[in-house]
């Protein structure tokens, strides 16, 4: 017998499936049932740009410690896709387990000697039980779930409870699923000694009141709570489920109880150009509006983003980033739209970006983005990505402060105008760079103005005069500094020991980074960490860099885009900022970060020859 990996509540199971075979819901039940046993899990979809037929994977990290980043490595492979058999078998860590459908005999060359093989004749069980082809396919997934539950020690009652919640009112479906689950469990109980699998789930109490939700769903809910009334969007992976979730939330939460009418408007536009145009039109007219998109959509929207920035119209854009450039890797994750968003448009422009780390912050930051856009009268980007957006992630429950009001920013009312307040649409009256605006239709004779992308003076009058232009551009810069003060501030994690090394990271890197910091600390590599949550960069980011000799900049793109932004916004010695880059489209892992930083630290700690000689 080969060596067998033994682990309790700390392992990775990967499901290799065929897209469109109905495996997704069974796999999600697997993850949820472990969660219900009080053990944190972190699942990830690895899927193709395809509807049916291509390979798809679902990777579940079981992690009692609550490390929610991708770990890397596979302890058990549930190989349900003949097409990818060879590479799936290859991926298993030595001593790991291969679970497969043993209905058809396989040659010994299809296996490996250093792994443990568990065959269950899933197709045969199905064919003996079901006659309908679709049932045979769908229940096969539930049967392997049943088999795995015995092998790994997952409480079957938790799965049954999940069935009950899922099929409430559809008792027939509930019964048939329970029956399929029993088929898998019974077969294993009769034919296999479950102790040969040394990966076990043991009830724990480490989930608490956390929720399990996708970032796109959370961001959509944030848009509801943040008061968005207009959503315009164009389908693009991985953002489409965000607008669809907004639709679903609005159907439940935003219809007038008496009339049944909608307190929102959602338009599936003809393209991203129109999506952002609709958002800008609505923002100009005093409604809170947002769009959700991904990289190629941002490319299309860029001209309009420049208009909204220069004409000072609020707009919220949730960018669920994917692999670029161009069509790139539509179903893979990256943080590679930083530059294209931060400096979108011709001319000198800078925009506000928010970097949520998980679904909780997707909720918080989308609601906050709607406030910030109104307050700053400018486009605000919520920079999420596929890893957060399209995967269920364990996170803190959503919270809402009842005393919080929608911040509409500086809006001059009919009463203000009537009282004779001086209205200059682009006039900075109090030094924060933000002028007052009026909504169209406010007053019969006062407060109207013309909005344009051309240059203008403080009273919105067209002007191409140099000094007028410069005054306006400097005011916009001042507004940008205001944004740095009021946007979400960085979060610092200090090493228990003093250190001259720092690390800066942001967004979906967060869970992998938290784990990597533990690994580094255990290995005696002390590093202070700063999680940046917004652009423009707060002064504390500059201070953090100055405080350390070397600062690692961890990001999921090739070019070190965040590092470029640091260089662009502040004056640093470039050698001080050390890039740690992961950009193959898979989510960054703690193993990668810790290893890369440890390697680089070792190099720095080698005393240069000249210094040693002097």
């Amino acid at each position: 017998m080969p060596q067998a990996i033994a682990a309790v509540n700390d392992f990775v199971v990967k499901f290799a499936n065929v897209n469109g075979s109905g495996s997704a819901s069974a796999n999600e039940l697997f993850a949820r049932s472990i969660l219900r046993m009080g053990v944190p899990v972190s699942p990830r979809n690895i899927f193709p740009s395809n509807i049916q037929g291509l390979p798809t994977w679902y990777e579940v990290r079981v992690t009692e410690k609550g490390y929610l980043g991708r770990r890397g490595g596979v302890d058990m492979m549930v190989a349900m896709n003949p097409q990818t058999w060879a590479e799936d078998v290859k991926e298993i860590t030595p001593g790991g387990y291969l679970f497969y459908d043993s209905t058809k005999p396989m040659p010994s060359s299809a296996f490996r000697e250093d792994i443990n093989v568990i065959g269950v004749p899933l197709t045969a069980i199905c064919n003996a039980t079901y006659t309908d082809a679709r049932q045979r396919q769908l229940f096969k997934n539930i049967i392997y779930l049943g088999a795995l539950s015995v092998l790994l020690g997952i409480d079957e009652n938790e799965i049954k409870r999940l069935f009950g919640e899922q099929y409430k009112g559809k008792e027939k479906l509930l019964d048939s699923n329970a029956k399929a689950l029993a088929l898998g469990r019974d077969w294993v109980a009769q034919h296999i000694d479950p102790s040969i699998v040394k990966l076990k789930v043991k009830r724990a109490d480490n989930v608490g009141d956390r929720i399990f939700v996708e970032g796109n769903n959370a961001a959509a809910l944030g848009a509801v709570y943040g008061g968005a009334t207009v959503c315009a969007w164009y389908p693009i992976t991985p953002s489409s489920s965000l607008a669809e979730a907004f639709m679903a939330h609005c159907k439940k939460l935003r219809h007038d109880k008496e009339t049944g009418k909608a307190k929102y408007a959602i338009v599936q536009a003809e393209d991203e150009l129109a999506s952002i145009g609709i958002v800008i039109g609505a923002g100009w007219n005093g409604a809170r509006a947002f769009t959700s998109t991904s990289g190629p959509g941002i490319s299309l929207m860029t001209e309009f983003i420049g208009l909204a920035s220069f004409a000072e119209v609020p707009a919220v854009i949730v960018n669920v980033q994917r692999g670029g450039p161009s069509t790139g890797m539509p179903t893979r994750t990256q943080q590679s739209d930083l530059l294209s968003c931060a400096y979108a448009s011709n001319g000198d422009t800078k925009h506000v970006l928010l970097f949520p780390e998980d679904p909780k912050e997707c909720f918080d930051f989308t609601a906050e983005a709607l406030d910030l856009a109104d307050r700053l009268q400018t486009p605000v980007f919520v920079m999420t990505d596929l890893d957060i957006g399209m995967n269920h992630r364990l996170c803190q429950p959503f919270q809402w402060d009842e005393t919080r009001d929608l911040d509409r920013g500086k809006v001059m009312t009919a009463e203000d105008l009537e009282a004779g307040k001086n209205f200059g649409r682009y006039l900075d009256v109090d030094g924060d760079g933000i002028p007052f605006r009026t909504y169209p239709g406010t007053h019969p004779s006062k407060g109207s103005y013309f909005t344009r992308g051309t240059t203008k003076d403080e009273y919105a009058r067209y002007s191409e005069e140099g000094p007028v232009y410069v005054r306006n551009m400097e005011r916009l810069q001042k507004k940008f500094l205001t944004a740095a003060r009021i946007a979400p501030q960085p979060v610092r994690y200090s090493s228990p020991k003093p250190t001259s090394y720092g690390v800066i990271y942001f967004g979906s890197t967060s869970p992998a980074m938290a784990e990597a910091l533990d690994h580094l600390e255990e290995a005696g590599n002390h590093v202070n960490a700063l999680r940046v949550r917004s652009f423009p960069l707060a002064t504390s980011v500059e201070e953090f860099v100055h405080e350390h000799d070397k600062v690692f900049i961890v990001e999921q793109n090739r070019d070190g885009q965040f590092r470029s932004m640091l260089m662009n916004e502040f004056t640093f010695d470039a050698r001080k900022l050390v890039p740690v880059l992961h950009y193959d489209g898979t989510p960054i892992t703690a193993r990668f970060i810790a290893a890369d930083i440890a390697k680089k630290l070792a190099q720095f700690k080698v005393v240069p020859f000249e210094k040693a000689a002097s």
């Binding site: 049944g260 408007a265 003809e270 800008i280 039109g281 609505a282 919270q399 109207s448």
Partner: protein, 351 residues
């Protein structure tokens, strides 16, 4: 150069409309377009229409794209908000503005370069969504600001000022609008105020996507022999199907029509369009006949004008989306934010 303000002195004898405004109150800044530009006549017709409709000037929102025509919103209804957007993308901005506040009157102003080239996609989609607005294309068949290139509405075989013959087929905006689902489609000529003003009034009273294609000669670059958008050519080839009398719903109808001399269309807001027939029988509520007649005009080289098509009972975008009766931009925290108790229930469902 659109910053020149008109003097605000009013002659005491200027007549006020029912809303208490004089015609001057509907004016804007002094036009900086070329003297004799057709677009200025259209601006004047818009001013006249708004005045006659007793519209509160600030209840209009004017949106435009980029180009000579798109500059005109500064030249009319100065007390209203205007938005000069980006090239060809006014329709989406107007759609968003309309979604935010259904109570304002939306005037989309564009040109043939703006709407028939870069903006043809957005033009098509705003029509099919039935956005409640009046969309005017000031159509001169030429790029004026960039000095005389053909636009996509220039007729095949027409000659540019530099003597070049246009080899491409032209895009007929009224055909496009009808195909895409506009519920009010008319064409007129900037030089025919008597036809144009009532058409604008009728379009502004239409509760749906109203489109007006207004042939508007460019005196600088498209008013020569060989052009099919010159004053002379359009006057000679103008085939007016009808002239409308616009009667607001609240007005008592005092005129009697001799049977058979006029078609009467009542719109959803109660306004009445009386179409005085010119020449032939023409029923503007028959979309297929309207499309046929327009196509016949294209074949024979006549510029068919008048109210070409109207659906008197259109359903606009807000009706399709079933939005609340008040403008969305007036909704606030109590109406929009579901509160923490609802959030607790959502949290519970995610465990």
């Amino acid at each position: 150069m659109t910053y020149i303000a008109k003097p605000k002195l009013h002659h005491p004898s200027l007549v006020k409309n029912k809303a208490g405004f004089t015609r001057r109150d509907y004016e804007g800044a002094v036009s900086t377009l070329c003297a004799g530009c057709g677009h200025d006549s259209i601006s004047a017709a818009i001013i006249q229409a708004c005045y006659e409709l007793d519209i509160l000037p600030h209840q209009v929102a004017k949106l435009s794209g980029i180009g000579c025509s798109s500059k005109t919103p500064t030249y009319f209804v100065g007390a209203s908000h205007g938005f000069n957007t980006v090239h060809g993308r006014m329709p989406s901005v107007l759609t968003g503005a309309n979604l935010a506040n259904k109570d304002l009157m939306y005037m989309g102003v564009s040109g043939d370069g703006d709407s028939a080239s870069i903006g043809i996609g957005q033009f098509a989609h705003i029509m099919r969504r039935g956005v409640n607005m009046t969309y005017i294309v000031m159509n001169n068949g030429v790029y004026g600001l960039t000095k005389g290139q053909f636009s996509a509405t220039a007729d095949k075989g027409s000659i540019s000022k530099k003597g070049v013959s246009n080899a491409d087929s032209s895009i007929d905006m009224v055909s496009m609008a009808m195909l895409m689902g506009a519920t009010f489609v008319g064409r007129s000529f900037s030089g025919d105020k008597h036809q144009l003003v009532p058409l604008i009034k009728a379009a502004m009273s239409h509760k749906g996507a109203a489109f007006l294609d207004v042939i508007s000669p460019c005196v600088a670059f498209n008013n020569h022999a060989g052009s099919t958008k010159s004053y002379d050519y359009v006057r000679e080839h103008n085939e007016a199907l009808n002239r409308i009398d616009f009667i607001e719903g609240r007005d008592e109808i005092t005129t009697d029509y001799a049977p058979g001399t006029a078609t009467v269309v009542q719109q959803h807001d109660g306004s009445i369009l009386r179409l005085r027939k010119l020449g032939e029988e023409y029923d503007p509520s028959d979309k297929i006949a309207a499309m046929k007649r327009v196509q016949e005009g294209l074949q024979s080289g006549e510029v068919v004008t008048g109210l070409l098509y109207v659906d008197p009972l259109p359903q606009d975008l807000h009706a399709n989306l079933n939005t609340v009766d008040v403008p969305l931009n007036t909704l606030n925290k109590p109406e929009l934010c579901p509160g923490s108790a609802a959030l607790d229930r959502i949290n519970a469902s995610l465990r």
